[in-house]
């Protein structure tokens, strides 16, 4: 179960090495994303996360908003 965090905590964690993952589609990601974020579409997460992310570092996922 992931922990819910706000943007201040996101910034703190990223400054300490956390990985940011945008789970939206490629087009939305390319238009604009958080600094340093990588794009892994939600439906491809199970396959791609182990390939693209470092298991030893915290992971922060986000999408458009709470909706």
């Amino acid at each position: 179960m992931p922990g819910f965090i706000d943007r201040h905590e996101v910034r703190r964690l990223v400054d300490n090495g956390a990985q940011l993952v945008e789970v939206l589609g490629k087009k939305q990601y390319e238009e604009e994303h958080l600094p340093g974020a990588v794009n892994i579409f939600l439906k491809a997460m199970a396959k791609k996360a182990p390939e693209q992310l470092d298991r030893s570092k915290p992971v922060i996922v986000y999408c458009e908003d709470t909706l």
């Binding site: 922990g3 819910f4 943007r7 945008e22 958080l34 996360a49 298991r55 922060i60 996922v61 709470t66």
Partner: protein, 167 residues
């Protein structure tokens, strides 16, 4: 998947960009209204006396009523403090009783060209800009947006129009 520390930033992009924080991507270079805002807008507290606040209004004829953490609660203008033509009748009243509550606000990440392309010149004097928690960032003057659109924003504005024409 074997990831130990996983967090969900549930408020997401809308929250991050809405705070005017930096971004990357094709749209990241667009000028946002946050860059055109004047942060030196007069402010006051709910309990400040009307007579004291009247003197702070300045050329924009506005004073934002905020909490001690600068969350916007309302605003007052000259007409709110003139006591129906008898200003001294409201001199002692706290502005919290006279203010316009819950003013319309915008987030700083709105592209300036998008806003400039949607409004008529002279259609607004200013807009209140806050972050997603309602904390005051400043005011965007219509005249500043128009100046930007006629100067360095011309190219961005043309791009927006082009997108609409083709879109």
């Amino acid at each position: 998947m074997g990831f130990g520390e996983v967090y969900d930033y549930v408020a997401g992009k809308v929250d991050w960009f809405g705070a005017g924080w930096p971004s990357e991507g094709e749209a990241a270079e667009l000028t946002r209204i946050g860059a055109l805002v004047d942060a030196e807008v007069p402010t006051c507290g709910m309990d400040d006396r009307a007579e004291d606040v009247r003197g702070r209004l300045g050329d924009d004829d506005v004073c934002l009523v905020v909490t001690d953490k600068r969350v916007v609660l309302g605003l007052v203008q000259g007409e709110d403090l003139d006591g129906d033509g008898d200003p001294s009748s409201v001199d002692e009243r706290p502005v919290g009783e006279l203010m316009q509550e819950g003013p319309t606000t915008m987030r700083p990440n709105v592209p300036a060209a998008m806003l400039a392309g949607q409004i008529e010149d002279g259609s607004f004097q200013w807009l209140v800009v806050t972050d997603p928690e309602g904390i005051l960032i400043g005011i965007l003057r219509g005249s500043d947006l128009e100046s930007w659109a006629e100067g360095e924003g011309k190219e961005q504005l043309a791009t927006i129009h082009e997108g609409h024409d083709h879109g």
